[in-house]
Amino acid sequence: MKSVLPILTVVAVIVALWYAAAVWMNAQWVYDQAARADTEVTLAEVIPQTLAQERPVLPAPHQVAAELWKSVVGQKVTSKRSLIYHGWITLSATLLGFAIGTGLGILLAVGIIHNRAMDLSVMPWAIASQTIPILAIAPMIIVVMNSVGLSGLLPKAVISAYLSFFPVVVGMVKGLRSPDAMQLDLLRTYNASRGETFWKLRLPASMPYLFASLKVGVAASLVGAIVGELPTGAVAGLGARLLSGSYYGQTVQIWAALFAAAIAAAALVGIIGAIQRVTLRRMGMAR
């Protein structure tokens, strides 16, 4: 709660800068239009015009806010013009993808710490996989999955999982390896099996790491779901809103969709943070 005032201050500064930038960036168009119409404009006339353009270079904050309001509150949630409707479509792919990605990530991590061959061979390729431009292969994933009869939510979720498994692998490998030699030796003196070592030591010890990587992973999942929406013909979802906004030069619509996505990401991260607090407190690890 101590952070409210600083955040508000920073936001206020950003909004002020944003307005200034909007005036500055949109002014050219006003002058150009005046020149084309052979009229002169004064600065006092320019400023209000820069903040009320239909397709501004940079929409003013209140334009974005109004658009957000209009498309969140001003519509029935089942309407195709409602951002809630589109947000939910993206969110469902995000959640499915996140679940797949997290599961895969944890499985890989478990494999990596228990099998030296996997440890040596998977990690470099996991890194390499993240250097592949996802936007380039997303359409192919969709087409290939389509050709085996999978369409709808799943292909999007696969792309979303592709982006989210990596942080989970990295975090979980770290976490599962976080018990020190002494804690491991203790279990050896009990002659504990690998499974017991995993369930009683490695897994609980990895929880803080798991949550940290889940937060990164869920944000990546959302990006993946949005990317996955583009090559499905951008039918619906926040990705489709971004794309159609971009296609028709509706900058305000793009910005509104962008903010909706960021808000969704922040909410998801917040939810995971809350789960983390509850879990770690239950486990007695929160102080």
Partner: protein
């Protein structure tokens, strides 16, 4: 059918070889440690080739690695031009600007807990903006050439580096800071002699994450407008022309360049943070 059987057999064979290798003394040597992932990679390629042939997947859906290799061999000049445009001009310049800016801003806000408390949550929010939405805006603002690509990269790498650097600047131990206080050292002396060195492992963590993001960012931005060269340009046009071998050639170059970039940063990290326990073997 025989191709599929071959793929399965090859896979099992390579798996067994790797398991054997990883238990043998060979992995103790540097070369041996590279051998295992190399075999793993070769296995992926061979299985891919065999499955594509076995299932007779059309080349316009997924070309076999052999076709991609052939395309790389015959298109080196084009690939090189694209690489220069996207990696050197777009990704690298954006990476340098973005990382430098992030470190400077981190140092600037480091003195103010107020700013940190305010800026970091907002920063995390901004970092969550999907790049596919930001890229068209930045292309509109900064034009079609590499400048807009660099701008996208700057936006992408800025926050991971910022967050890590801020965490790193707080990472020096209280005792180490107290030591500086007993010397009555001033802010800059403490920064240069203690807090920056202590922050290096964190900063490099950010730099490594950023290195995988940079090239992707530049490529994605090219999807939204570009001159008629560049890796992203080539990928998006060749998909439309069904030149899938060229698409995969570019993807291969991207993965190679991205991994190499990561490797270089990791090497520099070894040199700079040689003292950190994680780097001492």
């Amino acid at each position: 059918m025989s191709w599929l059987v071959f793929a399965a057999l090859f896979w099992i064979g390579a798996l067994a070889l790797n398991i054997w290798l990883s238990r043998s003394r060979l992995v103790k040597s540097r070369g041996g440690r590279l051998l295992v992932p190399a075999i793993f990679g070769i296995t992926i390629l061979v299985v891919w080739e065999a499955v594509v042939r076995g299932l007779e997947v059309p080349g316009v859906i997924l070309p076999p690695p052999s076709a991609i290799g052939a395309r790389i061999a015959t298109s080196l000049p084009v690939l090189w031009v694209d690489f220069l445009q996207t990696f050197v001009k777009g990704a690298l310049s954006g990476y340098l600007i973005g990382c430098a800016a992030a470190v400077l801003v981190a140092v600037a806000i480091d003195r103010s807990p107020f700013l940190q408390r305010g800026l970091l949550p907002v920063g995390n929010f901004v970092a969550a903006l999907p790049i596919v939405g930001i890229a068209p805006i930045l292309v509109m603002w900064f034009g079609f050439d590499w400048h807009s690509k660099a701008a996208v990269v700057v936006v992408m790498v800025f926050f991971p580096v910022l967050v890590n650097t801020v965490a790193g600047l707080a990472a020096s131990e209280p005792m180490q800071r107290d030591l500086m206080a007993t010397y009555s050292a001033n802010y800059w002396q403490t920064l240069v002699k203690l807090r920056l060195p202590a922050a290096m492992p964190f900063i490099f963590n950010g730099l490594k994450i950023a290195s995988t993001l940079a090239l992707i960012g530049a490529i994605v931005a090219e999807f939204f407008g570009s001159p008629i060269r560049g890796m992203g340009f080539r990928i998006s046009t060749e998909v439309g022309r069904l030149g899938l071998d060229m698409v995969w050639a570019e993807i291969a170059v991207a993965a190679l360049a991205g991994s190499a970039f990561y490797g270089v940063i990791a090497l520099i990290e070894r040199g700079v943070t040689f003292w950190h326990p994680s780097q001492r073997t």
